[in-house]
C-alpha cells in the first residue's frame, strides 16, 4: 500500500470523523482558534490602520512596526508566553494575534492611504465630515486592499494555528505532532491536506464576501 | 516647386484589427528633408500610420518604402535603429543618466562608449541643454527638458528620418511654443525628413511643410501645404476640422511687411492721450493720465499679418508696437493700415485687383 492509499484508509477508518479527537472536532477547534485570533487582531489593527491611513500621522511607525512584527518568530513567542502563562489558550492566542496584526494593519493602512487624494479632496469640498469621508469614501475604495490584508492574515493564521498543538492544544496540528512522534506519515499527510483544504475554503468564502461588499467600480 | 525625392512611400496600406479598419488604403508620398505633419481627430489612424513606418505596428497589407526599400526587407529592430523616434511622454530610461539615454542607439549600433558620449554631449547643446545635465537622471528633469532629451536621443541615430508622435502634447503651452520654435530652428540646419503626428491644427500649420489631414476610419481627407488646406479645404470634414479661426489662421501665411510703420512721435497728435512708455529702448506699457497699463502683444518686424493684427487688437491704445529681434521699439502700427493690408491680401488671394 502506498502513502496515498494509507492516507485514504486513515480518512475512511471507522470513527475517523466523528469520534472524540476525530476530524470534525479538530476542524472545529482549528476554526475556533483561528476565528478568535483574527477577531482580536482585527480589533487592534483595523482602528489603528484606519486612523493612520486617514490622518497620515505615524505612517513611519506603522511601516516599522509591521516590519518588526514580521521578524518576531511565532514559535518563540508561543513558547515564551506558555512558560509565563501556563498551558492555556491565552499564551498561543496572544502569540498568534501578534502574527496576524502585521498583514491586517498593512492592508488597512495602505488601502486607505492609496485612495486618490483628489477623490478625498472632492469629498471634503462637497461638505462631507471627516467621519463621512472615512466611512463613505475611503473605506469603500480601500475595500479591495483591506480584504487582501484580511485574506493574507487568515491564510497565515490557519497555517500557523497548527503549532498550537506543540503546547498540547487541539486543532489539526494534533495530527502532525502526534503523527510525528510515532512517525505515522499517513496521519501527517492527512493533516496537511485538511489544513490546506480548510485554508482554501475559508479564502474562497472571504473572496465571495469581498465580491458582495465591494463596488463593481473598484474591481 | 522643385522635384522632391520621396523618403517614405505608403502604397495601398491597410491595417485592420478584426473587423475594424484603422488605416484604409493609405497612399502617400512623404518628401525628403521636409516636415510632414499627420493631423486629425483621435482614432483617425494617424499614430498607427506613423508607427507602421518603423514597424512598431505591423500593417495588414500593402507596402511601405523607406528610402526606396521595402521596410519589411530587414529585421524590425534594425529598421528601428535606423530612424529616430520621439514619443509623447519622452519615454526616457529612468535608470540611465541623460548622456546614456542619448547614447542608446549609437551604443546598440556598436559605436564605442567614448565616441557615443562625446556625440551625446554635442547633441545636448544642439537641443539647448547645457552639459551639466549629462550626469543627471530623467526623474530630475522637467517635462520640457525631458522632451528635449527625447529629441536629442532621436537625433543621435544620425538617420535622415525622424518620427515624432505627438511629442509636445504633454507639456504646457509656453514650453510647447518654445519646443516648436526650437524644432524649426533645428530643422533649418539639419534638413531631416520629419513625420510629426499631432491633433492640434495650429501646430500642424506652424510646423508642417506638408500636412496630411486624416479623417475617422483611417483615410486621408487631404494632403497638401498648410496654405492649400486652409485656402481650399477638400471637403466638409477638412473644412470643419480646420474650421475655427480659419480666417485668422490664413493670415499666418501673409506677410505683415507692407504695413506702414509709424514713428513713435506719430502718437503725439492733439487727440491722442495715450503715451508709450519706453525703457532702455524697450516698450514698457502705455500711460494714460496718471495710469500705466501693460502693453499688448508685440509685432516683431517682418512677422506675419496675423501677428500684426493681434498686436493692434491687443494693444490698450489701439496702436500695435513694432520691435526688432532684440526687442527694441521701431515704431507703431495703426489698425486701419493693418485692416487695409488684410483687404489687399484677400483680393490678392483670389487674383482680383483692387
Amino acid at each position: 500500500m502506498n502513502i496515498f492509499d494509507k492516507t485514504w484508509a486513515w480518512f475512511t477508518a471507522d470513527g475517523a470523523w466523528t469520534d472524540s479527537g476525530g476530524i470534525f472536532q479538530r476542524l472545529l477547534e482549528h476554526l475556533g482558534y483561528s476565528g478568535l485570533i483574527l477577531f482580536f487582531a482585527a480589533l487592534i489593527a483595523i482602528p489603528i490602520g484606519l486612523w493612520v491611513g486617514h490622518t497620515g500621522k505615524g505612517e513611519n511607525i506603522v511601516v516599522g512596526v509591521t516590519g518588526a512584527l514580521r521578524a518576531l518568530p511565532t514559535l518563540g513567542l508561543l513558547t515564551l508566553f506558555a512558560l509565563w502563562m501556563g498551558l492555556g489558550l491565552t499564551a498561543p492566542v496572544i502569540a498568534l494575534v501578534i502574527l496576524a496584526i502585521s498583514p491586517l494593519l498593512a492592508g488597512v493602512y495602505s488601502g486607505i492611504a492609496a485612495v486618490d487624494p483628489i477623490t478625498v479632496d472632492a469629498a471634503r469640498a462637497q461638505g462631507m465630515t471627516e467621519w463621512q469621508i472615512l466611512t463613505r469614501v475611503e473605506l469603500p475604495l480601500a475595500a479591495p486592499l483591506i480584504f487582501g490584508g484580511l485574506r493574507n492574515a487568515t491564510l497565515q493564521v490557519i497555517a500557523t494555528v497548527t503549532i498550537m498543538a506543540y503546547i498540547n492544544l487541539g486543532g489539526l496540528g494534533r495530527y502532525l505532532i502526534d503523527g510525528l512522534a510515532v512517525r505515522d506519515y499517513p496521519r501527517m499527510v492527512a493533516a496537511v491536506v485538511l489544513v490546506a483544504v480548510l485554508a482554501l475554503v475559508v479564502d474562497a468564502l472571504l473572496a465571495l464576501i469581498q465580491r458582495a461588499l465591494t463596488s463593481p467600480g473598484t474591481r | 516647386m522643385s522635384v522632391l525625392n520621396n523618403a517614405i512611400e505608403f502604397k495601398s496600406v491597410f491595417k485592420t484589427y478584426g473587423d475594424n479598419t484603422v488605416v484604409d488604403n493609405l497612399n502617400l508620398s512623404i518628401p525628403e528633408g521636409k516636415i510632414t505633419v499627420f493631423v486629425g481627430p483621435s482614432g483617425c489612424g494617424k499614430t498607427t500610420s506613423l508607427r507602421m513606418i518603423n514597424r512598431m505596428v505591423e500593417y495588414t497589407s500593402g507596402t511601405i518604402l523607406v528610402n526606396g526599400e521595402d521596410n519589411t526587407a530587414r529585421p524590425a529592430h534594425e529598421l528601428r535603429r535606423s530612424m529616430g523616434y520621439v514619443l509623447q511622454q519622452a519615454g526616457l530610461m529612468p535608470h540611465r543618466t541623460i548622456v546614456d539615454n542619448i547614447s542608446t542607439v549609437p551604443r546598440l549600433n556598436g559605436v564605442s562608449a567614448r565616441q557615443a558620449k562625446s556625440q551625446a554631449l554635442e547633441l545636448l547643446n544642439t537641443v539647448g541643454l547645457d552639459e551639466s545635465f549629462a550626469k543627471r537622471y530623467p526623474s530630475q528633469l522637467s517635462g520640457g527638458q525631458a522632451q528635449r532629451v527625447g529629441v536629442a536621443r532621436a537625433l543621435a541615430s544620425e538617420s535622415s528620418i525622424l518620427l515624432m508622435d505627438e511629442p509636445f502634447s504633454a507639456v504646457d503651452p509656453v514650453v510647447r511654443a518654445d519646443l516648436q520654435k526650437e524644432l524649426l530652428r533645428l530643422q533649418s540646419t539639419l534638413g531631416r525628413t520629419i513625420i510629426f503626428v499631432t491633433h492640434d491644427m495650429d501646430e500642424a500649420i506652424l510646423l508642417g511643410d506638408y500636412v496630411a489631414v486624416f479623417a475617422r476610419g483611417g483615410r486621408i481627407a487631404q494632403f497638401g501645404t498648410p496654405e492649400e488646406i486652409l485656402r481650399e479645404p477638400a471637403d466638409d470634414f477638412v473644412a470643419s476640422f480646420v474650421g475655427r479661426d480659419r480666417g485668422m489662421r490664413r493670415l499666418t501665411f501673409a506677410s505683415g511687411a507692407d504695413v506702414p510703420i509709424h514713428p513713435l512721435d506719430a502718437q503725439q497728435t492733439p487727440w491722442q492721450q495715450w503715451q508709450l512708455n519706453v525703457e532702455d529702448g524697450r516698450p514698457a506699457g502705455w500711460r494714460i493720465d496718471d495710469r500705466v497699463i501693460p502693453g499688448g502683444s508685440l509685432f516683431v518686424a517682418g512677422g506675419t499679418l496675423r501677428d500684426a493684427l493681434d498686436s493692434v487688437l491687443s494693444s490698450p491704445s489701439g496702436w500695435g508696437v513694432v520691435v526688432n529681434e532684440q526687442g527694441q521699439v521701431l515704431g507703431l502700427l495703426k489698425s486701419d493700415d493693418v485692416l487695409e493690408a488684410t483687404e489687399r491680401e484677400r483680393l490678392n488671394r483670389y487674383g482680383v485687383s483692387a
Binding site: 521578524a71 515564551l80 497555517a159 | 546598440l108 530630475q140
Partner: protein
C-alpha cells in the same frame, strides 16, 4: 544574561546555522521565481499592445499566481515533515528545510516579481523597442533593472518571513535559533527563549538593512 554568557558559543553556532537556512532558500527561490514570473507576464510588446488582456495570457498569469498562493497555505511545519516523503531524506536532514523554505520563497517571490514587472512603465518599454532593442537585450538592459525596486521590496518581506519560519524546524529537531525555543520550553528557561527571540529579530533586522542598502545601491537612479 547569565544564561547567554555561559552559552555564548552555542548561540553563535545556532545563529550561523539559522543564517544559512535563511539565506540559501531566499537566493535559490528568487532565482527560480523571477523567470516563472516573467513567463507568467507573457509577451509585452509595448504600451498599446492588447497582449496582456488575451484570455490565454490571463489564464497563464492566474494559474501561476494562484498556485503560488496555494503553496503558501501549507503550514511550514507540515512541509518540513512531508519533505522526507518526497525527497527520501531522513526527517532531521537540513535538506528538508532548504527545499521547503525555497518553495515558500518561490511562492512569495513569484507574486512580487509579477508586480515588479508590472511596475515597469510600458512607455519605457515601448521606447526601448522603438529604439531598436530586441526582446532579450531589452529584458536584461531595461526591464529587469527597472523591476529591481519592487523586487527588492518583495525580497525583504520574503527574507524576514523566512528567518522567522526557520525556527519552526526546531519542532522536528533541526538545529537553528528555534532550538532555543523548544529547549527553553522543555527546561523552563525563559532566558533561553528570550535570547532566541532577540537573536532572531536582530538577525532579521541586520539582513533586512543589508538588503535595503543593496537595493538603494542598485537603484541610485531613483533618488539621485
Amino acid at each position: 544574561m547569565n544564561w547567554l554568557q555561559s552559552n555564548l558559543q552555542h548561540v553563535g553556532e545556532l545563529t550561523a546555522l539559522h543564517l544559512l537556512q535563511s539565506i540559501i532558500p531566499v537566493i535559490i527561490g528568487t532565482i527560480i521565481a523571477v523567470p516563472i514570473a516573467r513567463f507568467a507576464m507573457g509577451r509585452r510588446r509595448d504600451g498599446r499592445s492588447t497582449e496582456r488582456t488575451t484570455s490565454a495570457g490571463k489564464l497563464r498569469r492566474g494559474l501561476v499566481i494562484n498556485s503560488a498562493a496555494l503553496l503558501y497555505t501549507i503550514p511550514s511545519l507540515a512541509l518540513f515533515v512531508l519533505m522526507p516523503l518526497v525527497l527520501g531524506t531522513s526527517i532531521t536532514s537540513l535538506l528538508n528545510v532548504y527545499v521547503a523554505l525555497t518553495l515558500y520563497v518561490i511562492a512569495m517571490m513569484v507574486r512580487s516579481a509579477v508586480d515588479a514587472f508590472d511596475s515597469v512603465s510600458p512607455v519605457t518599454l515601448e521606447a526601448a523597442t522603438a529604439m531598436g532593442y530586441r526582446t532579450t537585450r531589452r529584458f536584461w538592459a531595461v526591464e529587469l533593472p527597472l523591476a529591481v525596486p519592487v523586487m527588492i521590496a518583495g525580497l525583504r518581506v520574503a527574507l524576514v518571513s523566512n528567518i522567522s519560519m526557520v525556527s519552526v524546524g526546531a519542532v522536528i529537531g533541526i538545529q537553528s535559533l528555534g532550538t532555543l525555543f523548544t529547549d527553553g520550553l522543555r527546561r523552563d528557561l525563559p532566558a533561553e527563549i528570550i535570547t532566541g527571540i532577540v537573536a532572531t529579530v536582530l538577525l532579521a533586522l541586520v539582513l533586512d538593512r543589508l538588503l535595503a542598502l543593496l537595493g538603494s545601491f542598485l537603484t541610485r537612479w531613483r533618488t539621485a
